[in-house]
């Protein structure tokens, strides 16, 4: 059986944690979401569900509105759903594969958003998977498509291929040295964006970034993916150079930081998500560089990062928690893992 991507050891092996592909599609016979009423939205959900689940039971169907707040948060933290998806009360459909690596959101910003994730560096495989689902839905549904513009989307920023490809990358050295800021304009030149993925509007936590294509029109899916690949490789080279510099000139400082991170994580009694994420980032770097000579936890570092987010902690506890209760539950969970 396929594991969820974040349980795969390859997510811990380099700077690239995962590869993700999203396809945006709209159904021709319905207006876009902005002009869609609840009745239309409900039919769209059942039609898309039927299209995806023909003759097999591979996908679970979830009603996001009937889930509790904690469950919704867990899906957000896993990046299976987006904040946009939870915003309004229109009927929604959520289809998730057994491993949770493939999902379909119905009535997000567009009628249909197909998502596929692979552990490590494997965009091609993620795209292949998303494209299969795309073809499957297309068997029974006619998409809004334009001769010149391609797949039509609610926002023109997604028109064309509707493809958003992204890598989740760990950039501890660029992040800590602030080199990342000088990198941003260069990346933007190639139509690529880089942003923190955790923290919702605050500083990126744990030096985990998402790097993705901005433009969806004018290039083939393959070219979008190879373009993103080459820019990402460049960014990673920069990260590796920053690391080498640090190892050459300030090795003791780095060792100190990594072992301090380990010391705090294994001893703290209360810890915020931000602090824990940053320490886990140092620990991940410690294992990558072999500086940290300690037994590896039974879970991948990114999986641990996810498990210490508020929704995951609350689900584990089975009850609502105050901030303080969460901080101590987080510290306890981390002590048990390390």
């Amino acid at each position: 059986m396929t594991l969820p991507w974040y349980q795969e050891p390859s997510t811990d092996e380099g700077q690239i944690l995962s590869s993700r592909v999203r396809l945006a599609r709209n159904v021709k016979k319905y207006p876009f979401k902005f002009k869609l009423d609840a009745a239309g939205a409900a039919v769209l959900v059942s039609e898309t569900t039927a299209a995806v689940t023909t003759g097999q039971n591979y996908f679970h169907r979830l009603d996001i509105h009937s889930l509790g707040q904690t469950e919704q948060k867990v899906f957000l933290e896993k990046h299976i759903v987006s904040p946009e998806f939870l915003k309004d009360s229109l009927p929604k459909g959520l289809l998730i594969s057994e491993s949770e690596n493939i999902s379909v959101m119905v009535n997000e910003e567009d009628h249909i958003r197909i998502q596929a994730v692979e552990p490590g560096k494997n965009l091609a495989a993620a795209y292949k998977m998303a494209e299969l689902i795309d073809d499957l839905i297309e068997e029974s549904v006619e998409f809004a498509f334009h001769m010149e513009y391609g797949y039509l989307t609610a926002c023109p920023t997604n028109t064309g291929t509707g493809l958003r490809a992204s890598y989740m990358i760990h950039l501890p050295c660029l992040d800590k040295s602030d080199l990342i800021k000088t990198l941003l304009p260069h990346i933007a030149k190639f139509g690529i964006t880089l942003r923190g993925i955790y923290g919702e509007g605050t500083a990126p936590m744990g030096s985990i970034y998402q790097i993705s294509n901005q433009n969806t029109l004018g290039k083939s899916e393959e070219d979008i993916i190879t373009g993103l690949q080459s820019v990402t490789e460049n960014v990673i080279t920069q990260e590796q150079q920053a690391l080498e510099k640090l190892l050459a000139s300030r090795r003791e400082y780095l060792e100190d930081r990594i072992y301090r991170a380990y010391g705090i994580l294994t001893n703290s009694r209360m810890i915020s998500a931000k602090e824990a994420m940053d320490l886990l980032s140092d620990i991940r770097l410690g294992f990558l560089t072999d500086i940290l000579q300690k037994p590896k936890p039974s879970k991948q570092i990114y999986q641990i990062m996810m498990e210490i987010q508020p929704g995951h902690l609350q689900r584990r506890a089975g009850e609502e928690m105050t901030d303080e209760e969460r901080d101590s539950a987080r510290a306890k969970h981390l002590r048990e893992l390390f």
Binding site: N26, K28, P31, F32, K33, F34, K35, E109, E131, D134, D135, E138, E142, F143, A144, F145, H146, M147, E148, Y149, G150, Y151, L152, A154, C155, P156, T157, T159, G160, T161, L163, K181, L184, P185, A188, K189, F190, G191, T193, L194, R195, G196, G201, T202, A203, P204, Q214, N215, T216, L217, G218, K219, S220, E221, D223, I224
Partner: protein, 180 residues
């Protein structure tokens, strides 16, 4: 020039974007907004660039004809009733027909935010190979013309044969339903 993000400080950082197909857009930001790390999404958020562009269009209508090239702001889309003003406020279109109802504005928008107005990716299978062949034939016809102009008859003959082969392969590419 003011920073497109905060509309307060002078823009000192000019980020060129979307260099593809020769179309450039510049993102003008102040130092503060460029380096503000407490909101990294904002830094390079495509949606913000896009909204900024919509704002600009209010002031500088696109196209050589200026104002008269614009769709009337209160004219509704024939399918969904969305007006151009509504689209500008929401940043989202109401239906697939909106792409025709506001065709000039949408085209200008796509040129600016996407750097292209021509889809080069996947086609829905149900449209058949015809649509693909037609586009390929269009390209070949352009190349054929160029080859003739350059009196490169050998090349021209090659293009002509390729066009013929495409047209034979797909006799029904004039299906009006396909052409939106």
């Amino acid at each position: 020039m003011l920073c497109v993000k905060c509309q307060k400080n002078p823009a000192t950082v000019h980020i060129q974007q979307f260099m593809l197909n020769g179309v450039k857009t510049e993102l003008h930001l102040c130092q503060e907004c460029t380096f503000k790390l407490d909101n990294p999404e904002m830094l390079i958020s495509f949606e913000n660039v896009f909204k900024g562009f919509l704002e600009q269009m209010k002031i500088f209508p696109v196209g050589a004809g200026g104002v008269n090239m614009m769709t009337r702001p209160d004219a509704p889309c024939s399918r969904c009733g969305m007006t151009y003003n509504q689209f500008k406020a929401a940043g989202k279109l109401g239906c697939d027909t909106c792409y025709q109802s506001f065709s000039k504005e949408v085209q200008a928008l796509l040129k600016n935010v996407q750097g292209s107005i021509r889809h080069e990716g996947k086609y829905p299978k149900r449209l058949g190979a015809g649509i693909f062949n037609k586009r390929q034939a269009d390209d070949l016809r352009a190349q054929l013309k160029k080859a003739i102009e350059e009196e490169n008859f050998e090349e021209a003959a090659k293009f002509r044969d390729e066009i013929r082969a495409l047209e034979l392969a797909e006799p029904c590419d004039k299906n009006p339903e396909v052409a939106q």
